[in-house]
């Protein structure tokens, strides 16, 4: 009896399309790219502000235009998805034990969402409603 183990081909570039859970993973990772682009847009806005009122108004008008709004909505959806996936994994990375009992993951996740709402509301108020 001779051994001749069969080694399958290495993963192809489209490996992540093969399983829904891999697609969800790639969406989670991709969501960071949209958040990054949104941050660049904000920096561009600051730059325009430094150039004076006319330049900044132009930037604001562009942001309120159809392309700006569509991008903002897409970026927000990805940001929310990113937040959701991040909060969902927190009980795994940081399990909390109180009085010898593990705190249920749902409570840790809920606490993160509560913090998210509080911080968002505070920023909203700071920005003048």
């Amino acid at each position: 009896m001779s051994r001749r183990p069969y080694k399958a081909e290495p993963s192809k570039s489209g490996w992540w399309l093969e399983q829904p859970r891999y697609i969800r993973y790639m969406m989670r990772e991709m969501s960071a790219a949209f958040i990054g682009v949104y941050a660049l847009v904000l920096i561009a806005g600051l730059f325009r502000l430094s150039e004076g009122e006319a330049a900044y108004t132009e930037f604001l008008d562009a942001a309120k235009g159809p392309a700006g709004l569509i991008f903002a909505v897409i970026a927000m959806l990805f940001a929310l998805y990113h937040t959701y996936t991040w909060f969902e994994v927190t009980p795994k990375a940081m399990p909390l034990v109180f009085a010898g009992k593990r705190l249920p993951g749902a409570i840790i996740v809920a606490a993160h969402w509560a913090g998210f709402v509080v911080v968002s509301a505070a920023l909203w108020l700071l920005a003048g409603g």
């Binding site: 001779s2 051994r3 183990p5 069969y6 399958a8 290495p10 859970r21 994994v89 940081m94």
Partner: protein, 247 residues
């Protein structure tokens, strides 16, 4: 009335004859209480005794019958025919070389498992007469879920990082390293670090989480790896604050 049947589409590979694996279809009777392993056993007993596969306990304890059932890594003894369509595709675990049919070569995992010292590294040698190493229920609770690992390798089959780079130490071995690191009787954490806290160790993991989703024993290797990352990051910064602690 004709008897209800199930078609099993099994990946076959005979190293002495085949250049590459191919599928072979077997028609087996359907039973409400049968798992995929029962159907495979029927093939072996009644239809084709050349079929090779591993199994032992038939109760999700031994971890031998890990296979890919309809694209999903699963224990063949833990997957009921009634939960699948009439045609079921059975393949060997992914990301391992195929020895023959549904049997894979698991040497890579065995080597990696050994490399993380998956046993209690005691502070000092102790004679049996000196008695047990006592542990409180709270100390046990810290690591108990990770002791449930049965080395079935479903997590390695599900892990795309291991598929892309087989240098990755992988989910089960890292979960077991974490299990012993958390054990109050163990002092082996720094001895495991060279393997565990390396690039092909925990840092190769990008937290896809597939390992935990397919784990039949709720071990949650993904959680173990993320917790190890946090501990290891703490070590890294402590090294600067307390240089005298450097090994």
């Amino acid at each position: 009335m004709s008897e209800r049947t199930v078609e099993l589409e099994i990946l076959r590979y005979d190293p002495e004859q085949d250049e590459a694996p191919h599928f072979q279809v077997y028609t087996v009777p359907y039973r409400e209480d049968w798992v995929v392993l029962d159907a495979i056993n029927y093939v072996k007993d009644e239809l084709d005794r050349t079929l090779s596969y591993r199994w032992s306990c038939h109760m999700a304890v031994c971890g031998s019958c890990g296979m890919v059932v309809n694209g999903e890594p699963a224990l063949a003894c833990h997957t009921f025919l009634r939960d699948y369509p009439q045609r079921i595709r059975v393949e060997p675990l992914q990301n391992f070389p195929i020895e023959r049919d549904l049997v894979v070569v698991m040497d890579d995992f065995i080597d990696k498992l050994g490399s993380v010292k998956p046993y209690v590294v005691a502070r000092e040698e102790k004679a049996v007469d000196d008695g047990e190493n006592l542990q409180t229920p709270a100390e046990l609770a810290r690591f108990k879920q990770y002791t449930a690992c049965i080395n079935c390798l479903l997590c390695y089959s599900a892990c795309p990082q291991y598929a892309l780079n087989d240098e990755f130490v992988g989910p089960a071995a890292l979960a077991l390293a974490h299990r012993y690191n958390l054990d109050s009787r163990d002092v082996g954490r720094s001895a495991r670090e060279d393997v565990v806290a390396s690039n092909p160790g925990i840092w190769e993991c990008s937290f896809v989480g597939a390992c935990s989703e397919v784990c039949p024993k709720a071990v949650d290797p993904a959680a173990a790896i993320q917790q190890t990352k946090i501990a290891s990051t703490g070590d890294y910064f402590l090294k600067f604050l307390m240089p005298w602690k450097r090994k």
